[in-house]
Symmetry: C2
Subunit: 287 residues, 2 copies
């Protein structure tokens, strides 16, 4: 099978996971070894986290890193796993349709089979892109991908619930955007929140949006079995696992600096040889 | 002050930390955000871990990644901290003196002020480089750095205690190599172990090698206060913190896959906004 055929198959398999009887749990990696751990634990696909990747590179989240820097990490992750990989490309590192399509093309080029595209502008005065413009971007990405023979899985994210707008209009707004993005060609609608979405609201999103729904795990989110019961198709984790492990790193650092002991660093650790067994990449010129 | 003068000052400050009354605790970063956490916790300098960096890029440890890939990460870490950074360049990604000098030059070029150079060949039949050749590499690195106006801090590592050679000759062998490397121009002698060095042996290394001694923290290693009491100058941690946080990541993944809950992911976490406050890098063309 050619690389292109394999990628097409992987994209189709990934899309099918959004329509399966069991919910798709999509963990978000920020480098090769984090993705490798997810693969070894039996997840069926891997997402990336732009917040995570950008922090490894020295940037705050929010399109501070370049598309090329993001894609280089995506490529490394794809290269080291047989699982479908979906790339978080933020808002596409561009405002124009052409720019966003270029970003999506880069995703396909490195062998990923899905992407997240968010509707945040980064500008607090007009925080969300116009719905019609966002639809045009989704349509153009779909056309580009089909022209390349691949059903790229488009996870269209609406950031309505990240706006700190606690009005009762949020739910209506998210539904309208979700349906508009679906109509434009999105395969899944992603509604991230900051503790503002409850189980009832999620059930309404599932019912009112005519597409698979993706929510993000978090302290205030119902467990995965309940999300599945109310019909959620995909749950991802964003940068939460990375933030949790960085919290442990900080504790390890504090222990070194205060008591000068190594308990947290050594009490639970993956062995050196185990990690090295996972990573079988040979030197190559493609990265 | 010019960049070069700043780097010279930083190298001199870093060298002085090896001769200070208190032991130098040098944590090893594998990306920008891990280095940033060490900086914020008050460490005075940052090392890198080649095992850690290579696993983020998809390679097993042991010079599978390229010099350029390693150095790109070192550059990012240097770029985002004001602390002295010491780069782990394994055995220099070369067997020739010229090749090793080229690696050391790359370290200086990106603004780091120290390096680790190990004497492992990677070949099990002759696991360590000839002492005289290793001395010649150290001499050549010193000359290159001085020609560039910087006292690059050379941490010469001897892997005698990684050979699984439990003979009583190991201590004598490590002392001989340590003194030979010091004579060639090394600033510090690094003797990593895999639980095979005890406190008595470390005290003998300190006494018999005429240079600051670096050991690596671990489950069987005395706490830092005891290492300081017996005269150790520098303690580093290698990939141990990274392996510990990857162990937590695996537990987080298992929890997601089994109970479908988010306890480990959310019970202790650095906030999104805190991480973003740390990372102030702006888009640039230099990476």
């Amino acid at each position: 099978m050619s690389n292109r055929d394999r990628q097409k198959q992987k994209a189709d398999d990934f899309l099918a996971l959004h329509h399966a009887p069991t919910i798709l749990i999509l963990p978000n990696a920020w480098d090769v070894v984090s993705g490798k751990i997810f693969e070894l634990e039996g997840f069926k696909a891997i997402g990336t986290t732009s917040a995570g990747i950008s922090s490894t590179l020295g940037y705050a989240d929010g399109q501070k890193m370049s598309l090329a820097e993001n894609i280089e990490v995506v490529q490394r992750i794809v290269h080291c796993t047989t699982l479908p990989v979906s790339a978080d490309i933020e808002a596409g590192y561009a405002t124009s349709i052409e720019g966003v399509v270029e970003a999506a093309h880069a995703v396909l080029d490195v062998g990923a089979v899905g992407l997240n595209l968010e509707d945040s502008t980064g500008d607090p005065t007009t925080p969300l892109f116009d719905i019609a413009l966002q639809q045009d971007k989704i349509k153009a990405i779909r056309e580009m991908a089909l022209a390349n023979g691949i059903h790229l899985v488009i996870n269209a994210r609406t950031d309505v619930y990240l706006l700190n707008d606690q009005s009762s209009q949020s739910l209506r707004h998210a539904i309208d955007r979700g349906n508009a993005y679906k109509e434009a060609g999105a395969d899944c609608i992603f509604v991230p929140d900051v503790g503002s979405l409850d189980k009832n609201a999620i059930a309404i999103l599932v019912k009112e949006i005519d597409a698979p729904i993706n929510v993000v795990a978090g302290a205030t989110m119902p467990p995965i079995s309940e999300l599945q019961d109310i019909g959620v198709s995909r749950v991802s984790v964003g940068p939460r696992p990375m933030r949790a492990v960085l919290s442990l790193l900080r504790k390890i650092a504090k222990e070194l600096m205060t008591t000068g002991t190594y308990t947290l660093m050594t009490e639970s650790s993956i062995t050196y040889s185990e990690i090295n067994r996972w990573l079988t990449r040979e030197k190559s010129n493609d990265a």
